[in-house]
Symmetry: C2
Subunit: 307 residues, 2 copies
């Protein structure tokens, strides 16, 4: 019997990562492959809402990928892969981020496109294969797309995302503006979390040269809920930065309505963060007008500053 291939997204999974894993596993199955969706961590409340809304089972949690065959979606760097991925065989990668450090010994399919979501690329792959996603799969893909692009408002949004969103909304039978607003209310359910849960719920780790950084993001319609407990949040950030030996921990509190970000910072390398983001922190806080995208507006200048 041949081995199953796990389709899996990044740690601290978000809606795009989970929905892309499920949708791509379905496409691969239609094409005769033995592909199973999996996840590398706990589901966030937005993703739980999405899976219930479209009546889809949560992918099972892959604790250790050593010795497995993997298709990576929505990430392509080892600091974000499932545990054991370095001892796994990477069969394919579908992503929309910067090019990271995953290497392979054989030629594989690696399709990275500068669009708003991995779900956008997957919708196009369904198209290329002459397949139409089911209502459920279209609902999942639309959710990944709208979540990553903040309902087509993030600066990462491209014309391709807009076209795909309309097509998916039609198949799924929803109005994407209306459905998107419903999604956003779930994204911003942060009030019930502890500060530590809050800062780690959408969190990514990066290696820039010799420096390790943590960059979290809270996308919310109520940034005050986070900023009113700033001291406790900074303490949690300090703890994490010390435990994991980060040079800096940057938290982006992104206001989805105003389309701005307030950044908080902890760690030893605050001046390098200031240089990278071209800003000055006052009491570990800085306002970044127009900043909404970690990937496009924060990671590249920080990488340049730290290298």
């Amino acid at each position: 019997m041949s081995q199953s291939t796990y389709v899996i997204g990044h740690q601290q999974p978000d809606t795009d990562t989970i929905c892309s894993a499920v949708a791509y596993a379905r496409l691969k199955e239609k094409q005769g492959a033995d592909a199973v969706p999996a996840r590398a961590g706990e589901l966030n409340p937005e993703t739980q809402f999405v899976l219930e809304r479209w009546d889809v089972d949560a992918p099972s949690h892959l604790e250790d990928a050593s010795g497995e065959q993997l298709i990576l979606v929505d990430h392509n760097e080892h600091s974000q892969t499932v545990t054991g991925a370095r001892e796994a065989e990477i069969m394919e990668i579908i992503d929309h981020h910067r090019i990271g450090d995953v290497e392979t010994s054989s030629p594989i399919l690696f399709r990275n496109e500068p669009v708003g979501s991995t779900a956008t690329i997957l919708s196009e792959l369904f198209d290329d294969a002459g397949e139409t996603p089911s209502t459920r799969t279209a609902g999942l893909l639309l959710s990944g797309l709208l979540s990553d692009t903040v309902v087509l408002r993030s600066p990462t949004t491209t014309d391709r995302d807009r076209v795909v969103a309309e097509e998916l909304a039609e198949i799924a039978g929803v109005d994407y503006e209306e459905y998107g607003k419903e999604l956003l209310t779930h994204k911003s359910k942060i009030g019930e979390k502890t500060p530590r849960e809050m800062i780690l719920s959408d969190f990514k780790e990066f290696e820039f040269g010799t420096h390790e950084l943590g960059i979290g993001q809270i996308e919310t319609v109520e940034p005050a809920v986070v900023l009113h407990q700033k001291d406790a949040v900074l303490e949690a950030m300090d703890d994490v930065a010390t435990e994991r030996e980060y040079s800096a921990f940057v938290l982006l509190v992104t206001d989805l309505l105003e389309e701005d970000t307030t950044a908080l910072v902890a760690g030893d390398e605050i001046e390098t963060v200031e240089a990278g983001l071209d800003t000055a922190f006052s009491e570990q806080e800085a306002f970044l007008p127009g900043v909404m995208s970690r990937k496009k507006q924060v990671v590249p200048p920080l990488e340049d500053a730290f290298r």
Copy 2:
């Protein structure tokens, strides 16, 4: 005035690298980009024949890419990039090799597909864009495809390569079997070269963990021309391995008619090469039945053995 983007292939350029650079620059230009083809080294006799046959100017030699904008074709690892590529901005990558060590700070298009040539992917990109290549461009793409797949005989050949070859041959107005045979005679014009020129004419460098390896390939219909001067060839390999501090220099002398390879080896790590290739060298020579592809049959097991 905005900066031109150079479309450029690997060092020791082969026909697929040069033809892909020219063809992709044309497609980007059609789409309104300011893209210029370039090369990272001297043309081999086969590629010279191809450019004359289709009446196309040779791309100019880019000596130093520092500060430039680059689109990489037919390679994606720094040991094979043009000088200065680490100080350049990588805008896109189109390739068909293993995933290497090129990283970027922003999301870019990276399209790597496990097919026989980069030219195959480019032909599909013309298609996706609704563009038909001109007779000349089709001639170049066909040449890249037939050269890399040894006229569709190499084990790297896929059904997609076969379909694309027929389409390109029709546009270019040639019979691809006949044209392919003509190409091969130029590929095998090795008799006039010095041993050093011979071993470096289709040559790639790899970093496997702490080891650097050189792996050259001579694809010929007359392997005896190389093997009859084995002592001089081994001496040249020894010199290069010492100068560049390689752990091993492996030369693949591939018989295009018999579809077999005779490997020669120099350097300190011959036993690791033997383990990787699952063979025993006698007087620094081993016969590898059925081996035709460096990329698919030689690089992956050597990487595993050296890591």
